[in-house]
């Protein structure tokens, strides 16, 4: 192959649509490199279209309770199949800083409720919640950016004066950034008690409804964001399921969870019909991958498995330090098509031991990286 650069005039002779098509095939690191060649390439890359359907990255934030210097953050790019170490993230002077990630935003709920977009460390505090709480379920809905943007906060454990109260059913609250106001809505149905927090609930925002699912209880209900009502509580438990997570993918609701069947333990994915809650198995994690995620000496070896996903990817990983947080991913093909599993490469060393691991998915585009601090959030 020739050493000389591809002639800039010829790639420039392509229409913007064609250039976008080519750039959409490149992972962010390649785009970053391409944009640093010279001003012309920089402008070609910066003005290319964004690809909201790109596969989401997988983020792991490790928090150390007493020594924040041991906190680490990592991001995995599925297109280039590589991990990146992110600079350490701190939030004011809070050494035990912890947050919730959802829909491309990060949130803290105590002592104040504040938020930032995932890649902009510009936290904004909101007016206080009617009911202060920790570990709620959170989602962002409405047009983003736009006047219709809203945050919805569901459940969580009451938190007043540093005391946790798990008894109350806390109202659902919806926030409008424009008016800085929280609206009260009916609380999570009582069937989910005890365990109203993200420790035992998983949530998925799908087609205008916020689904809440008990990871162990298998109860499911959805909150209609427009009419602000809860549906009846149903049970969603495919046979043999021990625990599972509800995930909103691009075209479908997916249930991902640990199952024990006649042929032994397996991690399965089911497609869920959003109205009837009928399930249909779409994938099973290969057993060699599953065994690679867990420590086979442990009694309850699968308990450390957690799962996040969006778009066309479902990431499954282990929260146990012992094996340095192994992970794998399932790429869901379109049209009920084939799902393909693969193991993620190891995290780049060194990897510390964490008390808490926060994980989430977010689409990362070259524009996120190049245009960093442009526009204000919401």
């Amino acid at each position: 192959m020739s050493d000389s650069p591809p002639s800039l005039t010829t790639i420039n002779s392509l229409s913007t649509d064609l250039i976008d098509l080519i750039l959409s095939l490149l992972p962010v690191p390649s785009l970053l490199r391409a944009s640093s060649v010279c001003r012309l390439w920089r402008s070609i890359v910066s003005s290319s279209g964004s690809h909201p359907n790109a596969s989401p990255w997988f983020f792991l934030y490790g928090i150390h309770n007493t020594s924040p210097r041991n906190n680490q953050s990592f991001a995995f790019d599925p297109l280039s199949d590589s991990w990146f170490r992110l600079p350490i993230h701190t939030h004011r002077d809070d050494p035990c800083f912890s947050f919730i990630a959802s829909s491309g935003f990060l949130f803290t709920t105590t002592p104040t409720f504040s938020f930032t977009r995932v890649f902009r460390n510009s936290w904004r505090a909101t007016s206080p919640l009617h009911f202060s709480r920790i570990n709620p379920l959170l989602a962002v809905f409405g047009d983003d950016p736009g006047p219709g943007l809203r945050f919805v906060v569901v459940g969580g454990d009451g938190f007043i004066g540093n005391l946790v109260d798990i008894e109350d059913r806390l109202a659902v609250e919806i926030y409008d950034p424009r008016s800085d106001r929280w609206d009260l809505c009916p609380p999570l149905p009582a069937d989910f008690r005890p365990g109203n927090s993200s420790q035992s609930l998983s949530s998925a925002l799908f087609r205008g409804r916020f689904y809440v699912f008990g990871i162990y209880s298998c109860f499911v209900s959805c909150f209609d964001l427009r009419n602000r009502v809860w549906s009846d509580v149903q049970t969603l438990r495919p046979p043999g399921v021990l625990f599972s997570f509800l995930i909103a993918c691009r075209e479908r609701l997916v249930l991902a969870g640990m199952c024990v069947g006649p042929s032994g333990p397996s991690f399965n994915l089911w497609q869920i019909d959003e109205t009837t809650m009928e399930f249909r198995e779409i994938a099973i994690m290969p057993s060699n991958l599953l065994n690679g995620l867990v420590d086979s000496e442990e009694e309850d070896k699968f308990a450390s498995l957690k799962c996040v996903g969006s778009g066309d990817m479902i990431y499954v990983f282990s929260e146990e330090y012992h094996k340095k947080y192994p992970a794998c991913v399932c790429e869901i093909g379109s049209d009920y098509g084939r799902c393909s599993w693969r193991r993620l490469p190891d995290l780049p060393s060194p990897v510390n031991k964490f008390h808490k691991v926060i994980s989430f998915c977010s689409v990362v585009s070259i524009h996120t990286v190049l245009h960093g601090e442009a526009d204000e959030a919401a």
């Binding site: 002639s7 490149l26 391409a34 350490i88």
Partner: protein, 163 residues
């Protein structure tokens, strides 16, 4: 209509190519022209030179032949043929971009995908040197390390995360 009707295509420089209809309709653009009954005489393709049209026809012919029952070529072999067809030494860069433009104009999705992926691979494979004082690296560093530092340097410089 699996007739072996011949269609005549005329390139921008006036050369005529006679092809089977099945090959011609690999191009959605030509397919629509035939359906709209504009194909009595030669179909003019003012945006495609004879050099490029010849290559496009070669591609379409191979792909039509590959899917015929009697002569079924398996996926691996077809992929290998595609790779050889597009190999950059054979196809100089100007031709590569002309093929992209032709595949786009003629609306031949598989050829468009093949050519765009080839350009993307060239960019990924660093066929041009990186010069940037912020990065402070020479080209010879292994891909992964360069990319790792590149991203974190860029991110740190942009103060995305550090408060």
């Amino acid at each position: 209509m699996a007739s072996s009707r011949k269609i005549t295509l005329r390139s921008s420089d006036g050369e005529s190519f006679e092809v089977e209809e099945a090959v011609a309709v690999e191009s959605q653009t030509i397919k629509h022209m035939i359906e709209d009954d504009c194909a009595d005489n030669a179909i003019p393709l003012p945006n495609v030179t004879s050099k490029i049209l010849a290559k496009v026809i070669e591609y379409c012919k191979k792909h039509v032949d590959a899917s015929k029952a009697e002569d079924r070529v398996n996926d691996e072999d077809l992929k290998a043929w595609d790779a050889a067809f597009i190999k950059v030494d054979q196809v100089d860069q100007a031709t590569l971009f002309d093929l992209i433009l032709a595949a786009n104009y003629l609306n031949i999705k598989s050829l468009l995908d093949l050519t765009c992926q080839t350009v993307a691979d060239m960019i990924k494979g660093n066929l041009f040197p990186v010069r940037n004082e912020w990065l402070n690296f020479t080209f010879s560093i292994a891909n992964r390390e360069l990319v790792l530092v590149c991203l974190t340097e860029w991110v740190a410089h942009r103060r995305l995360f550090c408060s």
